[in-house]
Amino acid sequence: MATYTGLDRPKSKLYYQFWSIVFILGLCGSMALLYFATKKVEYIWRWNRVPQYFLYEEKVTIRAEMEGKIVSIDPAGAEGKNVRVLVRGDDGEETHELPKESLLLSSGDHVYAGDNIGYYTHWKPGILVEGLWLTLEVSFLAIIFGIVLGLFTGLARISDNPALRWGAITYIELIRGSPLLVQIFLWYFVVGTVINSILAQSGFGQISPLWFGVMALAIFTGAYTAEIVRAGIQSVHRGQMEAARSLGMTYAKAMRKVILPQAFRRILPPLAGQFISLVKDSSLLGVLSIRELTKASREVVSSSLQPFEIWIVCAILYLVLTFTLSMFVQYLERKAI
């Protein structure tokens, strides 16, 4: 279990039991401490207010679209829970289907356009779920682009061609040398403004901030991935390339069939770390009014006034994402043996 088993005297069973209990006590202790500390400042925990930000029942009112008279109300839908309301006016007819108990009018009533006939309800994902989904989407896109960019930059970095190599070095150093937040601003407020202005002048639609955010994240991740890829390739013994080439394989074939598969397994752990960072860094995209998980949480906090619960939930949601990612990579690692 431990890294250096056998170097020291074997530990007794009691040793493990004792320190396991210490660990669990420590964990419970800190949670209790937090709880009582919040009690002290008279914070009122209202966990029951949290679920609505995951899933809530939306009420949609149904309004008449024209002036007329309700000529019939017939049972409709499964199990007769719904009714179909038929409105006939000078301009024609319209029908509405809605739950029986929400119906406000009866047959023969006169309605004007915009009059409330009734309502129906349906379940909608809450703002936190939407934010989580957007974080997932942004991270996924940025990871895919980041891998492609990183792979090619990594290969360019070790190329003999000076233009490719220096290009890769310049890109990597530029990106690693400035804060991601500044890069996001640059992409959106500088590059984005220029591109969108040109698009507007040529009569095309605008590119949404989301794409500039994804681009900033992908290009940021690509630079780090490139270094990981380079180190991975260089960690494969040079005899492998020589053996492949001595059999007559081209550089590209040898890379693809011999070097990269071996490098892949070694770069998985650092790559996982990089992508976990990316998921967390996507929280910065809130500054572009992209309502990802963090921005969504901030909005929920200002409307619910329950900051403690929401920020804890927010952190847990990130943890779920990053933990899943890390499990997935470990699975890949086992499979790639």
Binding site: H237, G239, Q240, E242, A243, A244, R245, S246, L247, G248, M249, T250, K253, K257, V258, P261, Q262, R265
Partner: protein, 248 residues
């Protein structure tokens, strides 16, 4: 008139800049007839590996000409991958592909370079594994084999390309003593079948038994060459005597 040589090396130089200039090969010339077995011996650092690696352009000689089967491989326009497919190389450290099974090690280049079908490549691969005596291990990964077995797989991998020439760079130097024999046996068989071979080795028994010619290299030059019986009984050069005295 003899048959034209299959390897014709004309006065090649090779420098390394590490960063100080080091001449690894100094005006080396040598030609090898088809079917000939040439053994290269010499002290460590004398340029044996460098010479061998120049023959399939793993090192690019700085000047001179290297004609392999009628093609000058130092000509930038030559198709080096086509030449390399004809020139097998066996390394001291085996260099098997660890992520592939033994059989896949043998089929990969057959399919990607020779364009053979999977069945064809596997049939050829199995036949060669049979020949080097480890057919039963076709499905395992190389790291589960002993050094001697790995080296035999490496030889089979090169042979799968149907090469005209085989280069061996100290193929038994990384092996435990009890495994040297099994690899040398495979090489002896190959020599008997008429393969053109250039072998860098310290196995003097092998040189005596199999070599048609022995080259002695020192400080980047071929100092002396001749038939093994002449070479081991009556070396002319002082350095050769000294070297043979040390290792025999």
């Amino acid at each position: 008139m003899q048959t034209p040589p299959i390897i014709d090396v004309q006065s090649i130089d090779k420098f390394f800049y590490t960063p100080e200039r080091l001449q690894a090969l100094n005006r080396v010339s040598c030609s090898v007839a088809p079917g000939e077995v040439v053994v290269i011996i010499g002290p460590s650092g004398s340029g044996k590996s460098t010479f061998l690696r120049c023959l399939n352009r793993l090192e690019y000689a700085d000047s001179g000409h290297i004609i392999i089967d009628g093609v000058d491989i130092l000509d930038p326009k030559c198709d080096i991958n086509a030449i390399r497919a004809e020139v097998g190389m066996v390394f001291q450290s085996f260099n098997l592909f660890p992520h592939k099974t033994v059989l896949d090690n043998l089929t990969m280049a057959q399919m990607t370079v020779r364009g053979r079908s999977k069945q064809e490549a596997e049939a050829k691969g199995m036949a060669l594994l049979e020949k080097v005596g480890i057919a039963e291990k076709f499905a395992v990964k190389p790291d589960q084999l002993s050094g001697g077995q790995q080296q035999r797989v490496a030889i089979a991998r090169s042979l799968a390309m149907d090469p005209k020439i085989m280069l061996f760079d100290e193929p038994t130097s990384a092996l435990d003593p009890e495994m040297v024999g099994e690899v040398l046996d495979v090489m002896k068989n190959l020599a008997r079948e008429g393969m053109t071979m250039v072998v860098v080795t310290h196995e003097m028994g092998f040189a005596r038994e199999v070599a048609d010619r022995v080259l002695f290299m020192d400080k980047g030059e071929i100092l002396e060459q001749g038939a093994p019986e002449h070479f081991f009984t009556a070396p002319t050069h002082e350095r050769t005597k000294e070297f043979l005295g040390q290792i025999l």
